[in-house]
Assembly symmetry: C2
Amino acid sequence: MTLKQRTAVFKALGHPARLRIVEALDGGERCVQDLVQIAGLGWSTVSRHLSVLKQAGVLDDEKRGQQVFYRVKLPCLSELTRCLDRPSSRRSSCGTEGCSTGRRRD
Amino acid sequence: MTLKQRTAVFKALGHPARLRIVEALDGGERCVQDLVQIAGLGWSTVSRHLSVLKQAGVLDDEKRGQQVFYRVKLPCLSELTRCLDRPSSRRSSCGTEGCSTGRRRD
DNA sequence: TTGTGATTTCGCAATTATGCGAAATCGTCC
DNA sequence: GGACGATTTCGCATAATTGCGAAATCACAA
């Protein structure tokens, strides 16, 4: 997965409506109607958000009858969301002299 | 962690320069000079990116002497990045009748 | 206390994202 | 085959992001 693709995943999740949608889909697939309710936005807006998520590879869709169902395609997202609830810190052993020097002004 | 905070984390990571910086910091803390090189952008631009990441809670900074060192604050990010490299799919058991109905036009 | 290097803050112009309604598709059911 | 319901695409106005250089801080050495 390239940097651009990884960036697209995060960017897709970096919007409250889209994140809410993805988290709702963690409980199983949903049709667009449900997601419109969950997002609290207009049809066209939600549709565009869904296409962003789909293009980033976060979601997958399937048409059954006249409804389209979306589901989460990336397996690790729910774990990350769970992880975000218990933050911690991390140290590194890089000293002051590990940094490059000799930089001029802006 | 609220929805807005979680969104801020993803949004912060949803930019190629910022993601590159965070991934570079996975190997240990770095000073701003190094990050400017890694990002390949101007000082002021990198500084703003760093402040976005810091405000989102992704990074932590520490001033030592006249240099500022940044490090990753969220522990689960490297795992997610590793996870993004091996995608898979997920099924759910939600049938067609599980969806709400009765929606009018736009 | 002046100078210098490291970093941040401040406007500014250009690009991109967002939300909406109207119109277009696409299946399904008389 | 026409109407209808579900969803997407399009065009537009507004808001947010991005990148830059200039100026401002801040710490330290001469």
